[in-house]
Symmetry: C2
Subunit: 337 residues, 2 copies
């Protein structure tokens, strides 16, 4: 088994950096689009055989160095009694949305091992075939909470913000519930066989620094500790990570996944050598001509040469209209480094 | 005339900080909404008497320390032959959009003094009544270019990015044209009587640092110099300014307008004392109860006490559903500081 990823997460990789991409199992793959013709996104997340097949697709087609569970950060809300829908061409929809504090205090707390048993089965299915590390994941509590409050498509989270200004106590209660469920969920994933965890607290870039500590980091830290107690490394992803690199380091994750706004080598100076760094090409670069992709990949590789804790990735997910041959070019550039 | 703003822009204000808000002439004002019932947004921008009335509205109602010209960053595109539309509830629409390099090379270059004469008239009208400083503005060339390429509503600017990766030469040509027209436009505004300029390069947060220098800062610097040559101070606004504070300082603006992600007092340590700083409360705070607004305003005021180059503002525009009484509370907190 190739363990480049696990070695890099320990900051002890002396070979080339591992490469995987966020949303590597996605619309840019013709085989994925073919599956989507026959199945709804809801089915693809909930039917273990299908989710496993999708998880494995990019590995079979493109030979990444790690697989990531095909799922959605919102499935955890099923353990809080919510229903999910993924309508074509729109953002995910949660129902019912939370409208006022009493909605939070009356949420059911269903056992994750039952409501999310299908994720466990997906992992078991994937592990039967996979010879490289499998990454599990969940959303950051703040980000998950925001999807439980906002209608789809608002990127500035107006209702979430209004809530936390007006009634921080009930908002904290919500974050507590999501954090506990997330920890149970990650433990289940680890027991089923994932070897690394990534936490996507995607939307915390809308928060001021005091709010960041109060409404995100405090909860992230608990999740990191719970994962690390299982001897599994944890990576944190958020929009705007470049701006809060030093603060993220205080939470002691095993790795930080960075956006493309700052050169990764410059960010390394803010991140101690025992924390790995992942990233950070602009996903839009993959629409450029292949020679430019190769050149930019090589630039990043040489800027991070000899860094034992570097994981090659994009700064965000692969865009749906990325040509697959361009992804292949990128992987080849990394593997021949 | 109150010249708090102009003194703060020179970093020589020994009184309380001046306050004005981005989008202070906007939907949160009932009088603005009443005007919008009778006039389209296009009319409100293009009819000098109307635009002047709207510019003055927040001054009459709320007594801000500065007025800002009521206009849109996209009007400059009229000097490049484009038509603008501002359909209800959608983003602004430019037609025709640029699709390929030849569209750029065949753009007309119409004299700004003629195509944008209505802005000059607006300024003259405003100045007849205004006893405080008037801020003029334009968009940053990168941001304006992106609206000339993207259909409305895309915040990650996929077509713009694809263009600059695939054909940087023609993209630079577009930026050159917009920069020249913007400089003419700002000179016209200054001749007509604006006493300060703000440049809104709103969308440069999507760029990596090398691209930031290449496709935004290079052009901003030329605009800053042209404005300063007219003895008028220039403020720069962009999303994500907190992340690039030090780089923005290299361009030597008179002031930087910051988002709310970092405490302003922490940002001051990155910004030399001869550059003013503007900001930076979260616009969503203004939906919180008034006591919280007052407390947060006081916190910001005391963190910046004795800073002679501090201009009180939000980190972005006032939200349309902000209660006007909450804005009044904020202004009162600043004025009684």
């Amino acid at each position: 088994m190739s363990d480049l990823l696990l070695r890099a997460l320990k900051c002890k990789n002396q070979e080339r950096p591992p490469i995987w991409l966020m949303r590597q199992a996605g619309r840019y793959l013709p085989e994925y689009r073919a599956l989507r013709q026959r199945h709804s996104l809801w089915e693809m997340f909930h039917v273990p055989e299908l989710a496993a097949e999708v998880t494995l697709l990019p590995i079979k087609l493109l030979e990444f160095d790690a697989a990531i569970l095909f799922s959605d950060i919102l499935v955890i809300l099923e353990a809080l009694g919510a229903k999910l829908d993924f309508p074509e061409g729109k953002g995910p929809q949660v129902s019912p949305l939370l409208k006022e504090p009493k909605d939070i205090y009356s949420l059911p707390s269903l056992p994750v091992s039952e409501t999310l048993d299908y994720v466990k089965k997906t992992i078991v299915n994937v592990k039967k075939e996979l010879k490289i590390p499998l990454i599990g994941f969940c959303g950051g509590p703040f980000t998950v909470a925001s999807y439980f409050i906002e209608s789809s498509g608002r990127t500035d989270l107006p209702k979430t913000k209004e809530w936390l200004y007006k009634d921080p106590a009930s908002f904290h209660h919500l974050l507590e519930i999501i954090t506990s469920a997330s920890i149970d969920y990650l433990k289940m994933q680890i027991e089923a066989g994932v070897q690394a965890i990534q936490i996507f607290d995607s939307w915390i870039n809308v928060l001021s620094e005091p709010h960041l500590w109060e409404f995100s980091f405090k909860y992230l830290e608990r999740i990191f500790k719970a994962v690390q107690a299982q001897k599994v490394p944890v990576t944190v992803f958020c929009r705007g990570a470049s701006l809060v690199a030093e603060q993220l380091c205080c939470l002691n994750p095993n790795a930080i996944s960075f956006d493309w706004q700052k050169p990764l080598s410059a960010l390394r100076s803010q991140v101690p050598l025992h924390i790995a760094i992942q990233g950070n090409l602009d996903p839009h670069l993959l629409k450029a001509p292949r020679a430019i992709i190769r050149k930019e990949a090589q630039k990043l590789l040489s800027s991070m040469a000899a860094d034992q804790g570097f994981i090659f990735n994009l700064g965000h997910g692969v865009l749906p209209d990325t040509p697959i041959e361009h992804v292949r070019e990128l992987i080849d550039a990394v593997k021949s480094a």
